[in-house]
C-alpha cells in the first residue's frame, strides 16, 4: 500500500473528568453518567455502549446524583438545585431550587411519579413530577445531620435515608419516622477513627424490607428495617464503601470501595441443603485505580465509574454467552466523538477542551526515511493559540476550516466564529459576528472551500451561513423530512461542496443538496447509531460506520447502497472486526487514491482499500505483521482490503493531511494516570 510519514502527536493533554454519579434506565437501556465537571453523558447499552449524547457541563454545577424518572433525567448537586435535562437538545431544561442547602442525593420511586432529595440541612424533600416540571410536595421529619443517601422501597411507601452515623426509614405518606422502627445506628470504625462520624454513603432498600448500607468505615451492613436490627456486617475495606447497586431481581449486590475494587454479594444459602438465604460475599472485581464513586448493576454486567474517569463494564460470565460480544469487558475512557479537528491543508490541529481551545501547528522534517525510522524534527510543533471560552457553559463542539483560516465553537449558550490570519510567525485572531438567529448549536462544520459554516440546531435542522471577509451572513435553514427531534451528532460536507450529511441519535442520516439548498434524501435507517460518517470527495458516496461496527456506503446520486457496500453486506464483515469494542470515531478519504477509506477507533487505525478483495472469514484480519515478513508475490496473494495498523494506541484522532502524511493524536493512559491525585491505596513493590 505504501509508506506514510506519521506525525505522532502526544501534546494534546486531554484529561477526562472523574465520574461522580450514574443512573441506569432499565426500560430504555440508557446509562446516564455524570462527571465532576458537570457533563452528563448518555450511553446506549442496547447499542454496544455507544455514547450517543453528551450534555456539556457548566461552571458551578456539580452533579452529586442522577436519577431517571421514566424517560426524564434529573440531577442534583451541591449548588442546591435540581436539574432536569432536555435530552433532545442536549441542555438543561430547567432548574428548581430545593431550599435545603447542598443536595446530596436524589431518588425517584419505581412508578416514576415522585422524587425524593436529601439535603445538607437534614431534610428529605418529596417532589411531584408534573408535565414539564416538578412540584414541591412535602418535607419529612428533619434529621440531625445531612442526608447522604436515599432509597425507595419498591412499593413506594417507605424511604430509607442514610445520614451521619445512622439510617432512618420514613413513611412516605406521613413523612414521619415509622413508629414501629428504631433508628439504625451504624458502628463507627475501630481504633483511632472512633471519634470520626460514619457517613452512610449509600443505602439500598429491598422489597423484603431489608436495608443494605455502605459506609465510610468500610462496612457493608444488612439490616432488618422492620425490627431495626443489624443482621450481618461485612467489613469490605479499610477505606470507604462509596456506592452500592442491586440487581433488578435483588439477588446480587455490588459495593464499590475507595480502593478501586468492586465487591459482589449474592443472596444465596450458605450451604447447599439450607433453605435460608443470606447475603454472601462472592467475588471482587478490580478495574479501577481510584475510588469507585458510582455503580450500576445491569442484568448482565457490573458498570462502575470513579475518580480515575474510566467507565468500566464488566460482564458477569454466568449471565452472558461466552465468546459473544457482550462477554467482552469494556473500558471507556475517551468520548465517542472527535475532540480534534485537522486543518488538513495548513497542517494545523485544533484541540477542544471544556474550557478552552488550542490551535497547534505541526512540526516539520526535511528528511525522508525508511519504514520504522524516526526522522529528526527540523521545526518543532508550535502552539499558536490558547482561546479561553466566554461564559459558564462548557464548549460542546468546535471546528476548524480545512484551510485553517476559520475557527468556530459552540456552547449551550453561545456560538462564536473567529478568523485566523497567519503572518509568518505572528497570528491574528479576529472575532466575526454571527447573526442572532444562531443562539446555540450541537455541531458545527465548515465547507471544504471555507466559504460556508453549517450549524446544526434544534430538531435536526441545519443553519447555513455564508462567510466572507469579516462577515457571516445567514443564508438558509435546511430541515429534514422527518419527525425526529433528536440532536445531530455528526455532520459532514463533501469536498466538492455539493452535499451535506447529518446524523442524529435516532440513527437517521439526512443528506442535503447544497447547490440547491434543499433536502436530498435520507439514507435507509439502520438499527445502530452511526458513530462516524463522511462523504467521498469525488464519488458522491457517503460512508457510514455504525456503533455495531457495520460499514455502509451509500450512493447519493443513485440513492442506493453502492456495489461495494452490497458485496460487503453479502459477504459479512470479519468476526474480529465485529467483535471490537471501541467504535470507529472518524472516517476520512485519501485525496490521492479514491479507493482508500481511512478510519480509526481508540486502539487502531485502518485503511480500507476498496480495490482489494474482502478478508475471508478464516483468514487473519490484522495481518500486517505477516505481510511484512512475506515476499512480494505472497504479499499480493494474502493481502486484503482491511489494512489495520495497531502500532498506535489510545488514539484520539487519525487524519490524513494534504501532503499525504498522517497525523496521529495519542493520549497515553499512563499520562492520564500520572495526573490523577494519589489513590488511597498506594501500591508497593512486590505486593
Amino acid at each position: 500500500m505504501g509508506e506514510f510519514k506519521v506525525h505522532r502527536v502526544r501534546f494534546f493533554d486531554y484529561m477526562p473528568s472523574a465520574i461522580s454519579a450514574m443512573a441506569f434506565n432499565v426500560h430504555t437501556e440508557r446509562l446516564a453518567v455524570a462527571r465532576a465537571d458537570g457533563t452528563v453523558e448518555i450511553y446506549n447499552f442496547a447499542d454496544n455502549c455507544f455514547q450517543e449524547k453528551v450534555i456539556p457541563g457548566k461552571d458551578g454545577r456539580t452533579v452529586e446524583a442522577l436519577c431517571w424518572a421514566g424517560q426524564r433525567l434529573f440531577s442534583t448537586g451541591l449548588n442546591g438545585e435540581i436539574v432536569e435535562y432536555d435530552l433532545e437538545n442536549l441542555r438543561s431544561k430547567y432548574t428548581v431550587e430545593a431550599y435545603g442547602g447542598p443536595v446530596w442525593t436524589i431518588s425517584s420511586n419505581s412508578q416514576g411519579t415522585q422524587l425524593a432529595v436529601g439535603c445538607e440541612d437534614g431534610t428529605v424533600k418529596i417532589f411531584e413530577l408534573v408535565e414539564d416540571s416538578i412540584q414541591f410536595q412535602s418535607n419529612f421529619d428533619r434529621l440531625k445531620s445531612r442526608v447522604l443517601s436515599l432509597s425507595w422501597h419498591p412499593s413506594g411507601t417507605q424511604i430509607a435515608a442514610g445520614t451521619m452515623d445512622m439510617i432512618r426509614v420514613f413513611n412516605v405518606t406521613t413523612g414521619e419516622t415509622c413508629t414501629a422502627l428504631l433508628q439504625m445506628m451504624v458502628d463507627r470504625a475501630a481504633g483511632a477513627n472512633k471519634k470520626k462520624e460514619v457517613a452512610v454513603w449509600s443505602v439500598v432498600f429491598l422489597s423484603d424490607n431489608t436495608v443494605i448500607s455502605g459506609d465510610s468505615a468500610g462496612k457493608v451492613q444488612v439490616w432488618d428495617s422492620q425490627m431495626g436490627t443489624l443482621i450481618r456486617t461485612h467489613l469490605v475495606t479499610k477505606w470507604d464503601v462509596m456506592a452500592l447497586a442491586v440487581s433488578r431481581d435483588e439477588s446480587s449486590l455490588l459495593a464499590g470501595t475507595s480502593e478501586g475494587s468492586v465487591v459482589q454479594f449474592q443472596f444465596i444459602s450458605a450451604r447447599l441443603d439450607q433453605p435460608d438465604k443470606e447475603w454472601q460475599r462472592t467475588r471482587t472485581l478490580r478495574s479501577h485505580s481510584h475510588d469507585v464513586r458510582a455503580l450500576v448493576h445491569t442484568d448482565t454486567a457490573a458498570v462502575s465509574g470513579g475518580n480515575d474517569a474510566h467507565l468500566v463494564v464488566r460482564p458477569f460470565m454466568e449471565k452472558v454467552v461466552k465468546g459473544s460480544k457482550e462477554s467482552a469487558p469494556c473500558k471507556i475512557t475517551f468520548p465517542h466523538r472527535s475532540l480534534v479537528s485537522c486543518g488538513k491543508k495548513a497542517g494545523i490541529l485544533l484541540f477542544q477542551f471544556p474550557e478552552r481551545l488550542e490551535v497547534w501547528r505541526l512540526g516539520e522534517s526535511n528528511e525522508n526515511g525508511i519504514p520504522g525510522e524516526e526522522l529528526s524534527v527540523t521545526k518543532k510543533p508550535e502552539a499558536l493559540i490558547h482561546l479561553k471560552r466566554k461564559g459558564d457553559d462548557h464548549i460542546c463542539c468546535s471546528t476548524l476550516s480545512p484551510c485553517g483560516g476559520w475557527l468556530a465553537y459552540a456552547s449551550a449558550s453561545s456560538v462564536r466564529l473567529f478568523q485566523l490570519q497567519y503572518d509568518n510567525d505572528s497570528i491574528a485572531l479576529t472575532k466575526v459576528k454571527l447573526p442572532k438567529v444562531l443562539r446555540w448549536a450541537n455541531q458545527l462544520c465548515f465547507s471544504a472551500d471555507s466559504s460556508r459554516l453549517f450549524a446544526s440546531f434544534s430538531q435536526s435542522s441545519v443553519l447555513v451561513f455564508a462567510l466572507s471577509k469579516s462577515e457571516a451572513k445567514y443564508v438558509h435553514t435546511l430541515k429534514p423530512k422527518s419527525v425526529s427531534k433528536q440532536a445531530v451528532h455528526l455532520m459532514s460536507t463533501s469536498d466538492d461542496g455539493q452535499w451535506l450529511a447529518t446524523a442524529n441519535s435516532d440513527c437517521e442520516v439526512h443528506v442535503y443538496n447544497l447547490k440547491k439548498l434543499k433536502y436530498h434524501c435520507t439514507v435507509p435507517v439502520y438499527g445502530s447509531c452511526p458513530s462516524a460518517m463522511a462523504i467521498h470527495p469525488t464519488g458522491s458516496n457517503v460512508v457510514m460506520v455504525h456503533a455495531d461496527q457495520k460499514i455502509f456506503e451509500y450512493s447519493l446520486e443513485q440513492k442506493e447502497y453502492t456495489e461495494w457496500s452490497r458485496s460487503l453486506a453479502k459477504k459479512g464483515l470479519h468476526g474480529s472486526w465485529l467483535n471490537r469494542v471501541a467504535p470507529v470515531t472518524h472516517v476520512s478519504f485519501s485525496a490521492s487514491n479514491p479507493d482508500y477509506i481511512i478510519l480509526h477507533d481508540m486502539n487502531m487505525f485502518c485503511i480500507i482499500d476498496k480495490s482489494l478483495p474482502l478478508p475471508e472469514k478464516d483468514s487473519d484480519l490484522c495481518n500486517q505483521n505477516q505481510l511484512r515478513s512475506m515476499n512480494e508475490a505472497a504479499r499480493v496473494k494474502d493481502s486484503h482490503a482491511f489494512k489495520i495498523c495497531e502500532m498506535f494506541k489510545n488514539l484520539l484522532c487519525v487524519g490524513l493531511m494534504e501532503d499525504h502524511s498522517l497525523v496521529v493524536v495519542e493520549r497515553p493512559l499512563l499520562d492520564i494516570a500520572t495526573r490523577l491525585p494519589a489513590p488511597v491505596r498506594q501500591k508497593k513493590f512486590a505486593t
Binding site: 500500500m1 505504501g2 509508506e3 506514510f4 510519514k5 506519521v6 506525525h7 505522532r8 502527536v9 502526544r10 501534546f11 512540526g363 522534517s365 525522508n368 526515511g369 525508511i370 519504514p371 520504522g372 525510522e373 524516526e374 526522522l375 524534527v377 518543532k380 510543533p381 485503511i607 500486517q624 505481510l627 511484512r628 504479499r635 493481502s639 489494512k643 495498523c645 502500532m647 498522517l662 499512563l670 513493590f685 512486590a686
Partner: protein, 696 residues
C-alpha cells in the same frame, strides 16, 4: 588435575633367581575390563578379577616347560594363546583345565611375541622380525619364516597400535649399540625402518631406551621413549608415511623432548613411561623431584607439571601396564594395582583452580622445553660461570657458607632479568633445598625468599621448598610461596594450614611477614562494637530458643600474624575434591579455631569493613564461604559431637539465616528493578515525533 588413588595388591610375585626381573612376563586384558591375564616368567597363566583381587582361573605347564610369551586373549574365538619354549603355540579356552590337553602347534621359527589387536585377530612377531597372522601360521605351522633383521640385531621391545582400521606392530631393535625402530603395517603389509638418535654423552656409550610406548592420535602414531638419563622423547610417525626405504637404509626418526626428568645424577636403571592420554604420561622408576627415588608420577606434558606422585616401596622393575583406568606395577614382592584419574585438563585445572584471577601477578611457569631445547639467551653467556656453579651439580652450592650463597644469589638476581634465568633459578632452588634438607645448619632463608620473589618458581619446579619452609618455621617464606605458587597441591595447602593453626602464638608473632598484609589485618582485627550488619543484626530473626548466651564474635580469635598466614591459605587455589580428604586430618581444636576465624571474616565482610582497595590482600567473600562449606563438609560429625562447637555453629546459623533472608529480599528487589528496566526501554517517545511507517 590427575590423581592417583590408594592402590591394592593383586598378587604376590614369584621368587626369581635374577633379582632384577620381576617374575611377571606380561599382563593382558580379557574380554571383561575387570579381568586381567597375568603371565609369570616361568610356566603359569592366571586370570584375575581385579576389583575383587582374586584369581578366577589358572593354567600351568608341565615341569620343565616354560612360557616364552605372555598369554593373550583372542576376543574373536574366546581363546587364550601363548607360546611355550620359543616355538610351540598353545591355544586354550577358559573352561579347559589342563594346558597339556589343549591345542598346540610347533612352528619353524622362534616367536618373540603374540599380540592381539582389537577386532584384528592375533599376530605373531617372530624373533627375526617377521610378522604373521596367527591364523595363517596355524594353517601351515612349518612354513618357512623370513628373516627381517640383520646379523646381531635383536628385538628389544614391542608395541601395537590400532588406528582406525589399520593395525601396526612397532618394535625396536638393537644392533651394535645402534637402535632402530620398525613400524610394521598389517593388511596391507609394509615395513618402515627408522634409526633412533643415539642418546648420551658420547656415541660410544649410547644409552638404550629404557621403555617404549606407542599410541595413536589424529593421524599420527605417537611414540614415547624413556632414556636412562631421564629424558622422555616423543616421535610422531605419520600413518600415511612414505613407503619403506630400500633394505638396509633407515630414516632417522625425528623426536621432540616431552619431559626431562630429574634423575639426580645417577642413570635410571629400571623405569618405564607410558601414555595415559593425550597429555598425561605415567612414569615409574624415576625419582620424584621432591620426595625420593622410587616413585610413580603422572606428568602433564602440556604444562610440564607434576600432577600426582606416589611412592612405590621395594624394588621397581621398570614394568608398567595401564588398563581401564588402572596402573599395574610389579614392585618389591607384589603386583600392585593403582587406580588413577586424568580429567581433561585446562590450564586452570593444571595449575590448580585460579581463584584470584588478576589480583596478583601470575607466576610465570618455566617451560621444560625452553629449559632444555637450548633457547638460552645470549646475555646469559657472560654469567655462565656463575650459573655453572649454581647448577645442580655445582660444587659451590654444595660447599659454600650460607652467607656466601646468599650473596651469590642476590648478585645473580641483580645481574640478569629473572625471566631469562627461569630454568636455572629452579635448579638453583632445588639444589639449595636439597642441601638444606641434608645439611640442617645450612638454611639460606633470605636467598630462598629472593628466589621465590622473582615469581619464576612454582611448586612443581621445586616441590620441597614449601615443606622445607614449614619445617624450618620460616613463615615469611611460606607466605611468599603461597602467594607466588599457582600450583600448590592440596595436601601441601592442608599441611600449611595445620602448621599455621597449631603454631604457638608467640612464635608466629615474632615472624616477619609481608608488611602490607600485616597492616591490613591490624586495622581489621581491632575489636569493634556491634554494628548493624546490612540492616540485620546477627541475633535478628525473631525469638530463638537456641540463642546462645554469649554475644556474637566481633573480635579476631587469632593473632594478627596468624591471621595473615591463614588469609594466604584461604586465597590459595585448590580443587575441593582433592582438598576435602586432607582437611579431615585437622584436629578438633584446629578446626574450631579456623572456623571461628572464618566466621570472624564473614562478619567483617557483612559489616563492609573490607573496602575496595583491600581486594588483593583480603580473601574474597566467595573464598571464605567456600572454606566454611568445606570445613563443615569435612567435619560435620566432629562438629556435632564437639560441645564447644555448638555456640559457634548456632551463631553462624543465625547469621547465615539472616543473610539468606536479606538475599531473598534483594532477589525481589532485583526482579522489580529488572521490570522497570524493561518498561523504560519501551517508552522513550516524547511529546512529538515524526515516524515513517509502511502499510502492506
Amino acid at each position: 588435575m590427575a590423581a592417583l588413588y590408594e592402590g591394592y595388591t593383586l598378587c604376590a610375585l614369584l621368587k626369581t633367581p635374577n633379582s632384577l626381573v620381576s617374575g611377571i612376563n606380561g599382563i593382558e586384558v580379557d574380554s571383561d575390563i575387570d579381568h586381567v591375564v597375568v603371565t609369570d616368567s616361568t610356566r603359569s597363566v592366571t586370570l584375575y578379577k581385579v576389583s575383587d583381587q582374586k584369581p578366577l582361573g589358572s593354567w600351568t605347564l608341565k615341569q620343565g616347560q616354560s612360557l616364552s610369551c605372555p598369554a593373550v586373549y583372542n576376543a574373536g574365538t574366546k581363546e587364550y594363546v601363548s607360546v611355550s619354549d620359543g616355538k610351540v603355540i598353545r591355544v586354550w579356552k577358559a573352561e579347559d583345565l589342563l594346558l597339556d590337553k589343549a591345542f598346540k602347534a610347533t612352528l619353524s621359527a622362534n616367536v618373540w611375541r603374540v599380540h592381539a589387536v582389537p577386532g584384528g585377530g592375533l599376530f605373531v612377531l617372530f624373533v627375526r622380525g617377521a610378522v604373521r597372522l596367527l591364523d595363517d601360521v596355524l594353517a601351515a605351522p612349518q612354513q618357512p619364516i623370513e628373516e627381517v633383521l640383520g646379523q646381531e640385531e635383536n628385538i628389544r621391545s614391542v608395541a601395537t597400535v590400532t588406528a582406525e582400521t589399520q593395525h601396526f606392530v612397532i618394535f625396536t631393535t638393537e644392533q651394535n649399540s645402534c637402535h632402530f625402530l620398525y613400524v610394521q603395517r598389517l593388511k596391507p603389509n609394509s615395513l618402515q625402518k627408522f634409526s633412533l638418535e643415539p642418546q648420551g654423552p658420547a656415541p660410544q656409550e649410547a644409552q638404550a631406551p629404557l621403555s617404549f610406548s606407542a599410541c595413536y592420535q589424529e593421524g599420527h602414531i605417537r611414540l614415547l621413549c624413556l632414556y636412562p638419563d631421564g629424558h622422555v622423547y616423543q616421535s610422531l610417525v605419520s600413518m600415511r608415511g612414505p613407503p619403506a626405504l630400500p633394505p638396509g637404509g633407515a630414516a632417522p626418526l625425528p623426536r621432540t623432548q616431552l619431559l626431562g626428568l630429574h634423575v639426580g645424577g645417577a642413570l635410571l636403571e629400571a623405569a618405564s613411561a607410558i601414555y595415559l592420554d593425550d597429555c598425561h604420561v605415567a612414569v615409574v622408576g624415576a625419582p620424584h623431584p621432591a620426595a625420593g627415588p622410587d616413585f610413580l608420577c603422572i606428568w602433564n606434558t602440556n604444562f610440564q607439571t607434576l600432577q600426582a606422585g606416589k611412592e612405590i616401596p621395594g624394588k621397581v622393575y621398570g614394568q608398567l601396564w595401564s588398563y581401564a583406568g588402572k596402573l599395574f606395577i610389579p614392585h618389591g614382592r607384589s603386583l600392585t594395582v593403582i587406580p588413577y584419574e586424568c580429567p581433561t585438563s585446562s590450564l586452570a585445572t593444571a595449575l590448580g583452580k585460579l581463584k584470584r584471577a588478576g589480583s596478583r601477578v601470575p607466576a610465570c611457569v618455566p617451560s621444560w622445553s625452553s629449559l632444555l631445547d637450548g633457547r638460552t639467551p645470549s646475555d646469559l653467556i657472560e654469567s655462565s660461570q656463575n650459573i655453572g656453579r649454581a647448577g645442580p651439580h655445582g660444587v659451590f652450592v654444595q660447599t659454600a657458607t650460607v652467607e656466601a650463597v646468599q650473596r651469590e644469589v642476590e648478585a645473580l638476581l641483580s645481574r640478569a632479568d629473572p625471566q631469562d634465568l627461569n630454568p636455572w633459578l629452579g635448579q638453583l632452588a632445588c639444589s639449595l633445598v636439597s642441601r638444606s634438607s641434608t645439611d640442617p645448619p645450612f638454611y639460606p632463608a633470605s636467598g630462598l625468599a629472593a628466589l621465590v620473589r622473582t615469581g619464576s618458581l612454582c611448586h612443581s619446579v621445586c616441590p620441597e621448598l614449601l615443606l622445607l619452609a614449614l619445617e624450618k618455621r620460616d613463615y615469611l617464606l611460606a607466605q611468599l610461596c603461597l602467594q607466588a605458587f599457582p600450583d600448590v597441591p592440596e595436601n601441601i595447602t592442608c599441611c600449611c594450614l595445620k602448621t599455621f593453626l597449631s603454631a604457638p602464638e608467640a612464635e608466629v608473632q615474632t615472624a616477619c611477614l609481608e608488611p602490607s598484609s600485616l597492616s591490613f589485618m591490624e586495622t581489621h582485627s581491632a575489636p569493634q562494637r556491634g554494628i548493624e550488619l546490612n540492616g540485620f543484626t546477627s541475633t535478628g530473626g525473631g525469638p530463638d530458643p537456641e540463642k546462645p548466651s554469649s554475644p556474637p564474635i566481633h573480635t579476631c580469635p587469632l593473632g594478627v600474624h596468624k591471621a595473615v598466614l591463614l588469609n594466604e591459605v584461604i586465597q590459595t587455589p585448590y580443587s575441593d575434591a582433592f582438598l576435602l580428604p586432607h582437611l579431615k586430618d585437622l584436629s578438633p581444636q584446629q578446626l574450631m579455631l579456623f572456623l571461628q576465624y572464618l566466621h570472624f571474616l564473614y562478619l567483617q565482610y557483612s559489616q563492609d569493613s573490607f573496602k575496595q582497595e583491600d581486594k588483593s590482600i583480603a580473601p574474597t567473600l566467595t573464598q571464605i564461604m567456600d572454606w566454611v562449606c568445606l570445613l563443615l563438609d569435612a567435619h560435620f560429625t566432629v562438629l556435632v559431637m564437639t560441645p564447644e562447637a555448638r555456640g559457634l555453629l548456632v551463631n553462624l546459623h543465625i547469621f547465615v539465616r539472616s543473610q539468606v533472608r536479606f538475599c531473598s529480599e534483594l532477589g525481589k528487589l532485583e526482579g522489580s528493578l529488572q521490570e522497570i528496566q524493561t518498561l523504560r526501554r519501551q517508552k522513550e517517545m516524547g511529546q512529538y515525533c515524526i515516524q515513517v511507517i509502511k502499510i502492506f
